[in-house]
């Protein structure tokens, strides 16, 4: 089938092994492919060069404070739900040198102008793509654009995947972010028995199919995929009532619930690290012992960090109660006033990866109930 008959919006079926060829093509075009791999009984995002590195035959099971892998023996590559890591570590690295300085007669600073890598993200879920869109609004604005984020974002290739087995902690439906992809990907896969149903989202995606063995998607294949996706959507059990969250948190700032959750929360900052939209960062200036060279770095930070709000004279959020309140009221409330989009995409990571098993959907429900009284 001639790829010239393909266009953006076309759907084809691709035999699964062809995915390797797609990745090779991407390498040849200068992309660094990254995606999910098994490591330490979990799934992390790392260098991914071949299909066989994918978590083949793995399903996942999640609940508050729990993430488990289940081995099936199926020839399936994307049945799991992603682990603690998100794609933000590529667009917004946890640690980055901004400049280095040397002291001669005077200080001389040199910017870190290493060119940005061209990343190809393999296996992006709908909630994760929604999170990238949220971070786009944070890092690229009219009044401020992070040049490092932008240069990576402009050269990003997105191979999206529709989730077919959402876990118990997923609540993307409530947040309007999934489980099905809608747009802004280069290619989008829905995994069938032996093939991937592939939706073409961009010219780049279309051009990658050049010379590959594919067929135009049959009605049967399309139906199979639709049924699987409908089933997936129906299987999502967790919900978050999003009606007027911003208003709720304005009135509930002195709710008793904050003290209650503070008894359980360890302020460990796991939630902010695993959250794909959290964006806070710190600036560190380190000097060597001789005082002759210095380095400025940007590193991930968290509003749970006790020193996050330190000003001369004290800490404006000196306890866990105030910090947890800040995180939740920001994520679900004031964030949308700041950036025009909801801060949470419903991926559920913060629920699974909280060692205390705190579930923000439960916290919101409790606050709503208290406010009603």
């Amino acid at each position: 089938m001639n790829e010239r008959t393909l266009s953006i919006g076309s759907t084809i079926t691709l035999p699964k092994p062809e995915l390797d060829l797609l990745m090779t093509d991407l390498h040849q075009r200068g992309y660094k492919t990254v995606g999910p791999v098994l490591r330490d009984e979990s799934i992390v995002y790392s260098d991914l060069d071949e299909m066989r590195e994918l978590p083949r035959g793995i399903l996942t099971e999640q609940s508050p404070a729990s993430y488990r892998l289940i081995q099936t023996n199926k020839e399936r590559y994307f049945d799991f739900i992603p682990g603690s890591q998100s794609w933000k570590q590529f667009l917004f690295p946890p640690r980055e040198t901004l400049f280095t300085g040397m002291k001669g007669e005077t200080w001389h600073l040199e910017e870190n102008d290493e060119p940005a890598l061209h990343y190809a993200l393999i296996g992006v879920r709908a909630c994760e793509l929604a999170a990238i869109h949220v971070q786009d609004k944070v890092f690229m604005r009219d009044d401020f654009t992070d040049p490092k984020y932008r240069s990576i974002r402009e050269n990003l290739f997105i191979l999206a995947v529709n989730c077919l087995h959402p876990n118990a902690t997923c609540f993307c439906r409530s947040m309007g972010t999934g489980p099905k992809h809608s747009s802004d990907f280069d290619l989008c896969l829905t995994e069938l028995e032996d093939t991937f149903l592939v939706q073409i989202g961009s010219d780049l995606g279309r051009s990658l199919l050049e010379g590959k063995r594919f067929d135009l998607a049959s009605a049967f294949a399309q139906n199979q995929a639709n049924e699987a996706m409908d089933q997936a959507a129906a299987s999502i059990v967790r919900t978050l009532d999003t009606s007027d969250l911003a208003g709720l948190f304005t009135t509930a700032l002195e709710s008793n619930r904050w003290s209650e959750v503070a008894k359980r929360c360890l302020s460990c900052a796991n939630c902010t690290q695993v959250c794909p939209t959290c964006f806070c960062w710190d600036v560190t200036d380190q000097m060597d012992l001789l005082g002759k060279s210095t380095r400025r770095e940007r590193i991930w930070d968290s509003c749970f960090n006790p020193n996050y709000s330190y000003v001369v004279g004290g800490n404006t959020r000196p306890n866990i109660r105030s910090r947890y309140r800040q995180w939740l009221t920001h994520k679900l409330g004031t964030w949308s006033k700041q950036f025009g989009v909801q801060g949470c995409v419903g991926c559920g990571r913060c629920i699974s990866w909280c060692p205390a098993g705190i579930d923000l959907t439960e916290e919101v429900a409790a606050i709503r109930a208290e406010v009603k009284e």
Binding site: L98, G101, V138, D143, F279, C280, V283, C303, G313, G340
Partner: protein, 292 residues
């Protein structure tokens, strides 16, 4: 969608395409103020930067002490009487600001800025103005005092209330006569006075007990310890001054100065970008929430 309350003055700043990269400035004067406080006069090294740099009183720079880090310091310069010179009054209490105390004439510091919103003088023309500040809260208002003096006819009664712990903690005492002679009522109050002090003893907000204000036509500019500002606001609101006419300068931990790193947030605002100057009407429901 950002929540800018006041219009940002035109951005003729030294922000570059690089992330957090400072421009160099030389220290051309060091003036000791009260104990633990000194004023630095800075001048950009590059003529092009000197030419381009513009700011309005209320804004701040991120001052980089090489090797140590940055601190957000308000600009105290008067645009016209010290062109090309950045005046920064610094209290030496943290790691970075204590390193600043060890600097000498001719040393270089990095500057990023200006950032933040300015005191909205244009919007309060024609009104009586009460400037209520305390301690290290006077430096961010110094530029505005000179602007008012230059445009004195555009304002009604102008009163400057300034408080400090003791007489030796007062900032810029040598300039008070200049300000008073420009038809600005000045009332200085200390927490405790000694035998030599013939000024007021008490607290800044108590001024409101003795003087009538025109509720409909008075604007308040306040900057200082949050407690002082809170009580100034209480007294102003009790006298029916509109929250839209009460302007407050807030302070939070700042790292990037550009509304990107998240540290300075209070409620929906990034203090570095949506502030530090706010009309109190924008802060109701936020300012008085403890530990928010």
């Amino acid at each position: 969608m950002t929540t800018t309350i006041l219009d940002l003055p035109s951005q003729n700043s030294v922000n570059s395409k690089k992330l957090l990269f400072p421009a160099w400035a030389e220290i051309v004067q060091i003036i000791p103020e009260a104990e633990g406080v000194s004023t630095l006069h800075l001048r950009f090294i590059e003529p092009e930067v000197r030419e381009r740099y513009r700011f309005e009183p209320g804004q701040f720079n991120m001052i980089y002490i090489p090797g140590y880090g940055e601190a957000a310091i308000s600009l105290s310069s008067d645009i016209e009487t010290s062109p090309g010179v950045l005046v920064h009054t610094i209290r030496h209490v943290g790691n970075v600001t204590r390193a600043a105390a060890r600097l000498k004439m001719g040393d270089m510091v990095g500057v990023r800025g200006p950032f933040g919103t300015a005191w909205p003088l244009k919007s309060i023309e024609g009104m009586d103005v009460v400037i209520a500040c305390g301690g290290i809260g006077l430096p961010p208002l110094r530029g505005v005092i000179y602007q008012i003096i230059r445009n004195r006819a555009k304002f009604g009664k102008v009163t400057l209330l300034y408080g400090a712990r003791t007489p030796s903690d007062l900032m810029y005492p040598k300039e008070y006569e200049t300000w008073k002679s420009a038809n600005i009522e000045m009332s200085v109050t200390v927490d405790r006075g000694d035998d030599q002090w013939t000024g007021r003893v008490g607290v800044v907000p108590m001024w409101f007990y003795h003087f009538r204000v025109d509720s409909h036509n008075t604007a308040i500019l306040t900057c200082g310890p949050e407690i002082m500002m809170r009580f100034v606001i209480y007294e102003a609101l009790a006298r029916r001054i509109s929250p839209e006419h009460i302007f407050v300068s807030l302070e939070r931990n700042m790292k990037c100065g550009q509304g990107a790193c998240g540290h300075c947030q209070q409620g929906p605002y990034f203090i570095c970008k949506d502030g530090p100057i706010f009309p109190f009407s924008a802060l109701q429901g936020i300012f008085n929430v403890e530990e928010y």
